[in-house]
């Protein structure tokens, strides 16, 4: 393993064209993804996390574009390439072979009129010339990896599979060409608890065995805590906190992250107070001045002595700055964030 990141995102901006003019869904995101590492992008709905995930593979819908920034990918041989300036055919070869994506199985992610095996063969054939029996063998391998029975699943149509099975098929399909980076978009959303559990187990195991790096987009903090080495919290199109998941979950330095964690009941240990963050996420088309979180921020209100947010919060949008060895936060008062949870009931 080297110190160079496999994926380096710098100041990435994603814009959507709307009738009212361009709206920035991602406003300058920067992060590194190292080999074999797992990074979680967490945040509320509409904070731009899925858009960022799609932008990494340049899969934005027609109206989306990336006017600024770079997504630098380092190949196994050490050469680097900026995805945003790749040509069409180059990009086609890059996708899935170098970086694959696991979509939500609950979505209509599989073509309803083609058998699972044909969709898998399609994927192989688009990138490699492989004999039919070798392709078949490879499909069996990846389906075995996600603990599906190849003989049953391969000749099925997507509608004949349950949601959990479809999700596994999508994971298996992502592994077909042994990519070095995997982007997962809400891989467990819309599945029942037990199915979620088994998907998480499969992902853990695969990462241990295959050693790919992964970026996964989720609003499920428990999943992030379990699967991620590092966590990036997104708010209004920006990464507001980035750090090792242990640090971030034990001692968040951004009031928004702290609020998110407080809103989730802990699965083990003492039952603590649960509190929500007041207000809702701001519209990306009309962001408040300064820090976009200031209007909902309890800390800022506290500093401002009840006259609304503190002056500096309204004047300037804070930059992501280093506060710990591997911890970056975008908050003017990050040193004053206190994270304690009041215990309501002991030892449940």
């Amino acid at each position: 393993m080297t110190d160079e990141p496999v994926l380096a995102v710098r100041d990435l901006v994603v814009e959507y064209r709307t009738p009212a003019g361009p709206v920035r869904a991602v406003r300058g995101a920067s992060f590194d993804l190292y080999e074999g590492e797992s990074l979680a992008l967490v945040g509320e709905s509409g904070c731009g996390k899925t858009t960022l995930g799609l932008a990494l593979l340049r899969l934005l819908p027609r109206l989306g574009s990336t006017p600024h920034g770079e997504v630098r990918y380092r190949r196994a041989d050490g050469s680097t390439v900026d995805l945003l300036t790749m040509r069409k055919e180059q990009l086609r070869r890059f996708r899935w072979h170098e970086a694959a994506m696991v979509f939500q199985g609950a979505m209509n992610a599989l073509n309803p009129v083609l058998r699972v095996q044909d969709q898998m063969y399609d994927t192989i054939r688009a990138h490699r010339s492989m004999s039919a029996s070798a392709a078949r063998k490879r499909c069996h391998e990846v389906l075995d990896m996600v603990r599906l029975e190849p003989r049953r699943v391969m000749p099925s149509y997507p509608h004949e599979l349950s949601g959990g099975m479809r999700q596994r098929v999508l994971i298996a399909m992502a592994l077909l060409l042994s990519p070095r980076v995997l982007v997962l978009d809400e891989p467990t959303t819309a599945l029942d608890i037990l199915t979620q559990r088994s998907i998480v187990d499969v992902l853990q195991e695969l990462r241990r065995e295959l050693g790919f790096a992964m970026v996964f987009v989720t609003h499920d903090l428990a999943l992030a805590a379990e699967l991620a080495d590092r966590v990036a919290t997104m708010y209004a199109g920006r990464i507001v906190e980035l750090g090792d998941s242990r640090d971030v979950f034990a001692a968040p330095r951004h009031p928004y992250t702290a609020g998110l964690i407080r809103a989730v009941p802990p699965a083990v240990g003492e039952a603590t107070e649960i509190s929500s963050i007041p207000g809702g996420p701001p519209s990306l088309a009309a962001l408040p001045p300064g820090c976009p979180f200031s209007v909902r921020c309890g800390l800022s209100a506290e500093v401002g002595d009840g006259d609304g947010p503190a002056g500096v919060c309204v004047q300037a949008d804070p930059e992501l700055t280093r506060t710990g060895e591997r911890h970056e936060v975008a908050c003017h008062y990050s040193d004053r964030v206190e994270f304690t949870r009041e215990v309501v009931v002991d030892g449940v």
């Binding site: 009129v113 099925s156 149509y157 509608h159 004949e160």
Partner: protein, 363 residues
Amino acid sequence: MSVTEADPVAAAAPTRPAVLRVLSAVWRSYAFRRILKAVLTVYLVATFTFFLVRLLPGNPVEVYINTLMQQNGMSYDQAANMAKALYSFDPGKPLVVQYLDYLNGLLHGDLGNSIGSPGTTVGSILVAYLPWTLFSVGIALIISFCLGILLGMAMAYRRNGVIDHVLSVIGSLLHSIPNYLLAIMIVVFLGIQLNLFDVSQMRGAYSPGVTPEFSADFFSDVMYHAGLPITTYVLTTIGSWMLVMKSSTVETLGEDYVTVAKARGLRDRRIATAYVGRNAVLPLFSQLAIAAGFVVGGSILIEQVFQYQGIGYLLFRAVNDRDYPLMQGIFLVITIAVVLANLVADLLYGRLDPRIRIGGGER
């Protein structure tokens, strides 16, 4: 929910033959029920046309009997007997008996004798006219459907571009022009005023003196005569295929599996055919089936304008002559064609869309 969905798959592997047998039995009974329904429909329409045709004012046999009585001084009975021998049709019989005779004839494949051209059977007339309609309208439908689908997809892929805007305008314009009007316009403007071709020579299904045979000469002569009707059919129907396909493709392009296919690095052509095209064309198949059914009916007005000797042209003549048996025969053939096309479409749809395959048996 997930358990029941997974069931057919789970059950299929270990006891394949048994499951297959059960499934095919269900499928067969579904097909059986559909066929039964189709036969019933044909019977009902045949019955309705039988009575409706007889409600038309004017009766050719009475007219003929009257003529015989006046010209040859025959008595009514003599004239009626003569007419009966000629027409195999007796207006004096009660309607119910006529109806039973008609049904009995149908069961034996006998459509009766034509009144307009005495001495010839309706069956032989149909055999002479039907192929021309099948040929011209069939080819037109295939051209129109295939071209419309390709253009519709092109519009969807380049939506809001120049191609899209130009084709949208042309498509809605063509869609709104009645086909007989376009036919008349072609004859008047292109044929007579601009004199691009000799309209009178292009009449009929093939040139007089040319013998039907399997040769390049005969085929080119047939195409020469069918050219204008085919052009008119294509131009007046392509607009709707184009526009429907465009909206269906735009919808499909927004589906997740298309984004996923792109993410998988599939080649554009593969995505366009197996992922976008295949799914976008599904909703058009029921319309294609209906259109295919009406191929047999041809178009009365187009065939009339171009004097093309197909079923539509024949129907126009039959109505004018009050040729009851011929009208009944034509309506019956059209009905059977429409019902059959829908039946085939229903049975075929399951082949095209696997989601219906299992559900179809239960519904």
